[in-house]
């Protein structure tokens, strides 16, 4: 059993003394004083247009994060108040952190210590600033290394002081309790059990922190209980009142004459909030060093190599697909491919304009067709066919035109002594298509190779890609136009001119009238013959191409075949 003796001082004075001591302790903690700056292990400061935040981690595992963002003041992730964007509080806080970023090593704590909340704040901002200051008090200012002499603390309050400093919420609760109304003369109990035996009476109030009170007898006074617990036995009694926070109450609570009141901390935190805050702080103290930055897989600065290789692969795949399509067209529609090629060669300007117009008009035609089919009852079933069919047909015709143009480019190459292609039999249509595709896609391939070389080649990569896209656009338009002009290779009207005067190739017109046929005048130089199934005119200006067929059968004459083979 422990007996208490009344203090001659008023409890209000006592509380005031404790609080005053705390204020002094903010500057001089008399226990284990040492240079506190080294206790700060890590700090992170971030200042941007969106936020101004700091994270502090201390040697004992405790940490503090404070941030102003999106109009809210956050401490350890919880919003403790609001601020006005661009207002005094934000400017002051940002200025503090900016100075800390610019300061030399180890100056962060000093700057934080010196910071004071600005005056003339609105009520909301004042509350937020108070919360910030309280947290800085708790984490920074209490760790000051200032070597001023310690103030004289009220006897017996050292332990209380330590505990209060470690649990700043208690300080707030204590302040609230002190401001509520004065206690009668009190004894202070910190972190230990206290019991009044049955039949005994203790005069004077109790201020208990993290202690367990077991009252079987009578306490003639008030009780302030911060943490811990209180049990009142069947014969126990408190003549005054009970103010408590974050404590467990049990037993005969009816025997409190003055009633009980839960203390709301100054910041208005409920006991649940307070408990959660304490738990969160404990968790944060034992957690790994945290960073507000989410680690991600870093990006390699050599990604240009990967991108370049990817571009090469993409170009190779495109080449393979177009080549496969070209060979398929060559195999199944050799005559149509030849007519389209010749049309593009003989009338490139007209083909380009027609192709450009066709490309531009394709979408309106598609949409108009959908509208027309949709508004007519008969057209409704066709609408389902129209929607996918036209894009497929247009794309197919574009590819046909592109392949035909590739062949033309290949033919052009075959009549140039291009270095590196000597070993290739470029008189063969398949080889021509392949060579043409290589040239047309070459810009993209070279761009990819340069991309591997690094960022320094970026301008060349961009230029090459632009050139490649422009070439593709022009070639695509000419090819598509040639397809349209020749009605997908069925009308050789624009392609009946002679190949030979054209630099492309000295191949004869496979559709020209047979000069040897009776009554058929020759329209050009002596044409060699080409079988109807061959896409390649038989005549070659280059020697050593004896594998070329030397005879052909003229296709049947169709109306309009007699048209001029020039770009009209």
């Amino acid at each position: 059993m422990r007996n208490f003796h009344n203090s001659p001082r008023a409890v209000g004075t006592r509380i005031a003394s404790v609080v005053s001591a705390l204020v002094l302790a903010l500057l001089t903690l008399p226990i284990g004083l040492e240079a506190q700056e080294p206790e700060l292990v890590f700090n992170q400061l971030t200042v941007s247009s969106q936020e101004a935040s700091l994270t502090l981690e201390f040697e004992d595992g405790s940490s503090l994060s404070a941030s102003l963002r999106d109009g809210g003041v956050f401490v350890d992730g919880a919003e403790v108040g609001r601020y006005t964007s661009g207002g005094v509080l934000e400017s002051s806080w940002r200025g503090l952190l900016a100075s800390a970023v610019a300061a030399d090593n180890g100056q962060v704590l000093n700057l934080l210590r010196d910071w004071t909340a600005p005056e003339n704040l609105s009520a909301d901002e004042a509350a937020a600033a108070s919360a910030l200051s309280a947290e800085l008090d708790r984490f920074v200012r209490t760790r000051s290394s200032a070597a001023e002499p310690a103030g004289t603390l009220p006897a017996g309050t050292e332990e209380l002081l330590q505990e209060i400093l470690l649990e700043s919420e208690y300080l707030k609760a204590l302040t609230a309790a002190a401001l509520a109304r004065p206690l009668s003369p009190a004894q202070v109990i910190v972190g230990r059990d206290f019991r009044i035996e049955a039949g005994q009476t203790v005069d004077g109030s109790l201020l208990a922190l993290n202690s367990r009170l077991d009252l079987e007898g009578t306490l003639d006074g008030d009780v302030v209980l911060l943490g811990g617990g209180l049990r009142i036995g069947p014969d126990g009694r408190i003549t005054g009142d009970l103010r408590w926070t974050d404590a467990e109450l049990d037993g005969n609570l009816e025997a409190i004459d003055g009633g009980s009141q839960e203390i709301e901390p100054v910041l208005g935190l409920s006991s649940e909030d307070l408990s959660e805050r304490i738990r969160a702080e404990v968790r944060s103290a034992t957690a790994e060093a945290r960073s507000t930055v989410t680690p991600r897989s870093p990006r390699s600065p050599f990604r240009g190599i990967v991108r370049g290789l990817g571009g090469l692969f993409q170009t190779a795949v495109t080449f393979a697909i177009l080549l496969a399509i070209g060979l398929g067209v060559l195999h199944f529609f050799p005559r149509e491919l030849d007519v389209v090629s010749r049309t593009a060669a003989q009338a490139p300007g007209r083909s380009f304009l027609v192709g450009l117009a066709g490309s531009v008009l394709a979408l309106p035609v598609w949409v108009s067709g959908m509208v027309l089919l949709a508004v007519t009852v008969i057209g409704l079933p066709l609408l389902l066919l129209w929607i996918p069919a036209l894009p497929i047909v247009v794309v197919g015709l574009m590819i046909l035109g592109f392949v035909a143009m590739s062949r033309n480019v290949g033919r052009w190459v075959s009549h140039r002594n291009v270095q590196g292609l000597e070993g290739m039999d470029t008189s063969r249509p398949a080889m021509q298509i392949g060579a043409g595709l290589l040239i047309l896609l070459g810009a993209f391939a070279i761009a990819s190779v340069l991309q591997i070389g690094g960022v320094i080649f970026t301008p060349f990569v961009i230029l090459l890609k632009i050139a490649g896209y422009l070439a593709t656009l022009v070639v695509g338009c000419i090819g598509f136009g040639a397809v349209l002009l020749s009605r997908a290779g069925r009308d050789p009207g624009y392609g009946r001119g002679d190949w030979d005067p054209d630099p492309w190739a000295p191949s004869p017109d496979p559709f020209a009238p047979d000069p040897h046929a009776p009554g058929k005048p020759s329209s050009g130089p002596a044409h060699s013959a080409e079988p109807a199934h061959s896409a390649e005119p038989a005549h070659s200006a280059e020697p050593g191409r004896s594998e070329e067929p030397t005879t052909h059968q003229d296709p049947p004459a169709t109306p309009g075949d007699e048209g001029e083979g020039v770009d009209r």
Binding site: S48, D104, V108, P295, R299, R307
Partner: protein, 283 residues
């Protein structure tokens, strides 16, 4: 006094600059600072895609590192993880979009390392203008990989620990280093792509130092202090060697003090197309 004045005058524009940036609200400043707390050594890995990079020693001896990053938040995000003796730092592109050189110029990073904890430092950089002072920190190993960069390295003070390897992998770059001998490296390896590489071995104190250089297309220049014996071997049909003071003996070239010097450098160079120049220097 003069130093304090200089520091103060230097600090004023820094603070004003930071304030101006804050007022402009177009850049984000992030700083990471950690005190040494009993680490025996630390692996430091830095990745920095594009921009200005500065490396130097901390002003305070008990600091482990301090990194200050400035960047456009919409384009970049900082990397920072620390644990188990390993530090990851840097800036990475946000959202996977490739960054242009212009955007790269909008980022900067200043890293300072303390002298109290031995560090294995690895820098991986893209298009970067880098300025480094490797003096005043304890470097156990140093690895630098750059893309298209302009890098200047100096070593202002002796490395207090022995460096096992100094590795330089340089892409399309201009690289100049002075005072590498003060790093006390046992081996220096250089892989150069396209560009100019200049290595200065001032401050060399080791008995034996090995340099292995593999150059693609470009120029390699190595400055070896007077009094240090040189043995050079090279391969590469289209490369030229400019080292008139070296004498060929068998398959290698030797300086005349090779047999008598107490400090020696063995240099082997593979160069596809370019020039190799060995010159003598002070220190």
């Amino acid at each position: 006094m003069i130093r304090c004045t200089v520091l103060a005058l230097t600090a004023i524009p820094i603070v004003l600059g930071a304030s101006a940036e804050l007022a402009g609200q177009d850049r984000t400043s992030t700083q990471f600072e950690r005190r040494a707390s009993g680490e025996s050594s630390v692996d430091v890995n830095v990745r920095f895609g594009a921009g200005d990079f500065t490396l130097g020693p901390t002003l305070s001896g008990n600091h482990l590192y301090r990194a200050t990053l400035e960047y456009l938040e919409e384009h970049w995000e900082p990397i920072h993880t620390y644990g188990s003796g390993r530090l990851e730092l840097g800036l990475q592109s946000r959202g996977g979009a490739p960054r242009s050189l212009r955007q790269g110029g909008e980022a900067s990073m200043e890293l300072r390392l303390g002298p109290s904890v031995p560090v294995d430092l690895s820098l991986e950089m893209g298009a970067v203008r880098a300025s480094m002072d490797l003096g005043g920190m304890a470097l156990r190993s140093f690895e630098l990989a750059t893309g298209a960069s302009e890098t200047r390295v100096e070593v202002s003070r002796e490395n207090p620990v022995e460096m096992s390897e100094l590795s330089l992998k340089i892409g399309a770059a201009s690289f100049r280093a002075e005072g590498l001998g003060r790093l006390n490296p046992a081996r220096i390896s250089v892989e150069g792509g396209v560009g100019e590489v200049r290595l200065g071995l001032e401050g060399l104190s080791r008995d034996e130092t090995e340099i292995a250089a593999s150059m693609g297309l470009g120029a390699l220049e190595i400055t070896v202090p007077d009094g240090v014996g040189i043995r050079l071997t090279r391969s590469g049909l289209l490369s030229t060697l400019n080292a008139p003071f070296l004498e060929r003996r068998g398959s290698a070239h030797y300086s005349d003090d090779w047999d008598t010097s107490d400090r020696r450098v063995r240099i082997s160079v593979e160069s596809a197309l370019g020039s190799v120049r060995i010159i003598r220097g002070d220190g």
